[in-house]
């Protein structure tokens, strides 16, 4: 196809181009006559049109870009007064001249600190003055361009990226700037410049027409060079503003795609350090995908790879190559719940969702997404469309700057739940009703269709339904009032959910606009989190299950007297499995079950309570070389204790030797029945190397009598080590105290343990509490 065929414009675009050209022509006549009047026919100086004026695309109120080129600097002093009069005349004629005065030699060389000039000269055009000067300028600049195209393209790319950063790198602004925002007119022109530098031309007819028409209207409405498509302007320009904005985003996406191609072409040079790094990334290539210049390409475009291409991009933080995006247009693979989970578990899940949105796959596999695509919901605070807000929220979890929330995120074992909830949290917006209720309803439908397991479904639905809870409390309720704490406890129910909800709230606020998460809000959210955390932690023991409703008789007898937390953290399937396990106690003293999900194992033990039992099991597991991640111990009214230990099989010992699971079960049974001393087993284990000095920290043991009516709360934070839990539980037993409830957690090399203990059926008197604290501190240090 010839260039002229490619560039043939639609009648609409032609008419708009004519409008701009006609304005250019009018302005040009005025400028020429002013030049003739004030500068005259003197030699050694020429006037060139640059920028939009040079392109003959002058908008009603935009600046008139002029270059006054002089043969040599010696011309300047004689020109000063006439030039001043010339420019003043243009201002008086209601034009806004934006001028530069430069020598021909300066224009014909590259200037890193004056890239604007080189770019504006791409659209140079003679207007008036000495034609010889313009010819000389034209020749010199053309010669410069011939040898500096690559450098100029790279500089243009850097400038474009810097401009995009000012708009948070997204086209999806509720009130976009139709000149400078990503996907708008400046980008469209940038694409043209890139093509020009490569000796090609391109027509972006439809976007040009739409964006140009919109900008002309904005100039007419505001009577000045104002380019923000404000809500007010949207209402003035279109009868249906929502449809108008959908149109805007459609064209902005088209421009963005073309620009992406141009930027990709200009971005890498294998000779540079960055280029070599990009090449090094190509080692990430697999049998399915190639990584080239940090972009993912499909090896076999015909092959259905499910969501793996997106998962691959997300795992390595890579973007899809424009070619891949084109090939995957409207790609709609069959997606299972496991696929979603794998995708959401990657560190850069937002990258995957962006890629899926680009290809149309997100709305293909999640049709509900269409409801919020490019959806403008007018709001004083929100800056982005609903879909963009959602993706920004997911991305915000990938770079949490505040140390407290960054740590909190690491405490959540399944952050993918939070990401999925974020994906759906505003899906009901635009429905006209209460968006929280609508989002929760839609989330329920989506999760049912995806056949999500009951617990995952409950967790995600909970987060969507309550996603405004913490924001509302942090601004609307007294954080010093115990009623607020109780309100949060009743809504959130478990520490696990609280952590998920806090991170979801953090992401939701952060994604409202770049300034939304002020230190003020951060502090309020953290205080709200702490309030609920304290209330949930201290309420662990005091709330017990009594006269269980809505459960079978078998379940009810087992549940009676267990802490309420047990009911909130176990599904009915898990409760039934425990009820069945408890029945084994009719024929044996100890019932043990070991299950696993990949390399994470869960051991559940039930027995009649016996002093030192919890310590013994912890010791047996550690003696086996397994690392305890979490543990819980509860007991019910029948005196049955339910101990659960979650541990990691980091060395794949159990996975590769299935008989070892039987050996572990037998060992636990022997220890639980008092037939084996766990202390002796632990002593036989080799001592691990202590952590580096930098990683070490002082242990802390807090003993509180005010947290519960009937038991003493012991909170321990210590460096984790094999056998630590055994030593702590042993110290409690040796102090003749009973462990009523235990909640053990680990975070990297830190152990975080909560015990509710009693002595003689009640709280520990002060001297005994002090003694226990001292004994536990010694145990933390392995003394």
């Amino acid at each position: 196809m010839s260039d002229s065929a490619v560039l043939a414009r639609s009648p609409e675009a032609e008419s708009l181009a004519h409008t701009l050209a006609s304005r250019t022509s009018d302005v040009e006549d005025l400028v020429r006559s002013a030049w003739a009047r004030f500068i005259g026919a003197r030699s050694g100086v020429a006037l060139a049109a640059t920028g939009g004026f040079g392109r003959r695309e002058l908008f009603p109120h935009s600046d008139v870009d002029l270059l006054i080129a002089v043969e040599s600097e010696s011309e300047l002093s004689a020109l000063r007064d006439p030039l001043e009069a010339f420019l003043r005349h243009l201002w008086d004629a209601d034009l806004r001249p934006s001028h530069a005065v430069q020598t021909v030699a300066y224009c014909g060389a590259g200037h890193e600190d004056n890239l604007e000039l080189s770019i504006s000269l791409l659209d140079r055009r003679y207007v008036a003055g000495d034609p010889g000067v313009f010819r000389s300028l034209d020749e010199r600049f053309s010669a410069f361009l011939a040898k500096s195209k690559l450098a100029l393209a790279r500089a243009l790319a850097a400038k474009t990226e810097a401009r995009h950063a000012k708009f948070q790198n997204t086209i999806y602004h509720l009130e976009p700037d139709v000149k400078n925002a990503p996907g708008a007119l400046r980008d469209l022109q940038t694409v043209r410049w890139f093509r020009q530098l490569r000796g090609q031309q391109i027509a972006l007819d439809a976007p040009f027409e739409f964006l140009t028409r919109t900008r002309i209207r904005l100039h007419e409405i505001f009577g000045r060079d104002y380019n923000v498509l404000s809500f007010e302007a949207q209402d003035t320009i279109w009868d249906d503003a929502a449809a108008g904005m959908r149109g805007y985003f459609q064209y902005a996406r088209a421009v963005e795609r073309e620009l992406e191609r141009s930027l990709e072409h200009a971005s890498t040079d294998p000779g540079t350090l960055l280029g070599r790094f990009h090449d090094w990334r190509s080692r990430l290539s697999t049998s399915e995908f190639t990584v080239s210049r940090d972009r993912v390409l499909l090896r076999d475009p015909g092959r259905d790879t499910g969501l793996r291409v997106f998962e691959f991009a997300a795992r390595h933080g890579l973007r899809l190559a424009p070619d891949t995006v084109e090939r995957l247009a409207s790609y709609a693979p069959r997606v299972s719940w496991a696929d979603w989970k794998a995708l959401l578990s990657t560190d850069h899940a937002s990258v995957a969702f962006r890629a899926m949105q680009q290809t149309g796959t997100l709305s293909a596999v999640l049709p509900e997404w269409r409801r919020i695509e490019s959806l403008v919901v007018r709001d004083f605070y929100h800056r982005y469309t609903v879909d963009e807000h959602t993706l920004v929220a997911i991305a915000s979890l990938e770079s949490v700057r505040d140390a407290r929330f960054a740590n909190l995120l690491t405490e959540i074992p399944d952050p993918w739940i939070v990401r999925f909830a974020l994906l759906l949290h505003d899906i009901g917006k635009g429905s006209g009703g209460d968006h929280v209720t609508e989002s929760a309803r839609i989330a329920g439908e989506v999760l049912a269709r995806l056949d999500a397991p009951g617990q995952d479904r409950a967790a995600i639905e909970f987060l969507v339904r309550h996603h405004l809870e913490l924001s509302t409390v942090m601004t609307g309720r007294d954080l010093e009032d115990s009623a607020t704490a109780q309100h949060l406890v009743s809504r959130v129910e478990t520490v696990e959910r609280l952590k998920q909800l806090a991170m979801l709230t953090y992401a939701d606020i952060t994604a409202v606009n770049p300034e939304a998460m002020t230190p003020w809000r951060l502090e309020q959210l953290w205080r709200t989190y702490l309030l609920a955390h304290r209330a949930l932690t201290t309420g662990l023991y005091s709330e017990r299950i009594h006269a269980s409703v809505d459960v079978s008789a078998g379940r009810a007898a087992f549940l009676e007297g267990l802490p309420v937390r047990y009911l909130r953290t176990h599904s009915f399937e898990q409760i039934d499995a425990h009820v069945a396990l408890a029945r084994e106690l009719e024929s044996r003293a100890v019932a043990v079950e070991i299950a696993h999900d990949r390399r994470i194992y869960t051991l559940t033990l039930m027995a009649r309570d016996r002093s030192g039992l919890f310590a013994g099991i912890a010791g047996a597991i550690s003696a086996f070389g397994l690392s305890i991640l979490k543990a819980e111990a509860f007991s019910n009214m029948q005196g049955i204790i339910v101990d659960t230990f979650t541990f990691a099989d980091s060395n794949r010992m159990l996975e590769l030797n299935p008989t070892e699971v039987d050996r572990l079960r037998a060992m636990v049974r022997r220890v639980a029945e008092g037939r084996q001393d766990p202390g002796q087993l632990l002593r036989a284990r080799p001592k691990p190397a202590p952590p580096s000095r930098q990683a070490r920290f002082e242990p802390s043991v807090r003993v509180t009598n005010g947290a519960s009516d009937t038991a003493t709360l012991v909170e321990i934070v210590a460096e984790d080590r094999p056998g630590l839990l055994y030593d702590l539980a042993r110290a409690i037993s040796d102090a003749d105290c009973n462990i009523e409830v235990v909640l053990i957690d680990t975070e990297a090399h830190k152990a975080l343990d909560v015990f509710y203990v009693t002595a003689l059926g009640g709280k520990l008197p002060e001297p005994r509490a002090m003694e226990l604290q001292s004994a536990l501190l010694s145990a933390c240090e392995g003394r």
Partner: protein, 112 residues
């Protein structure tokens, strides 16, 4: 004219706004601020880590009212913002020399 500045608990903002609206005061500037008075800061312990909380989130309200109404506004504001606990905040009153509405150059109380 009097300028009234009040530092209040964040959760009291809606009550105060409603109360002021009730006596015909609609115009005010609301600023999210952090600070402490006698309440001072305190230490929060979370999972073994100590966090010094020395600047507590508060809301600052600013409004300029006719001198004759200042006392009524202050009384209404204080009543609505009060919980009786430490940290309820403070109200400051100062004289305002002039007020100008930028749009039409109204001056004095007419500009309020």
């Amino acid at each position: 004219m009097k300028k009234i500045e009040a530092v209040i608990q964040p959760h009291k903002l809606e009550d105060v706004k409603e109360a002021l609206k009730g006596i015909g005061i609609d115009g005010m500037t609301v600023i999210e601020v952090r600070g402490h008075g006698r309440q001072k800061g305190h230490k929060e312990i979370y999972r073994g880590m100590e966090y010094q909380v020395d600047l507590l989130p508060k809301i600052k309200l600013e409004m300029v009212v006719a001198e004759a109404r200042a006392e009524e506004v202050v009384r209404t504001l204080a009543t609505a913002a009060r919980t009786g606990k430490i940290g309820d905040g403070k109200i400051f009153i100062s004289d305002v020399a002039e007020a100008i509405r930028i749009r039409n150059d109204d001056r004095g109380e007419a500009a309020l």
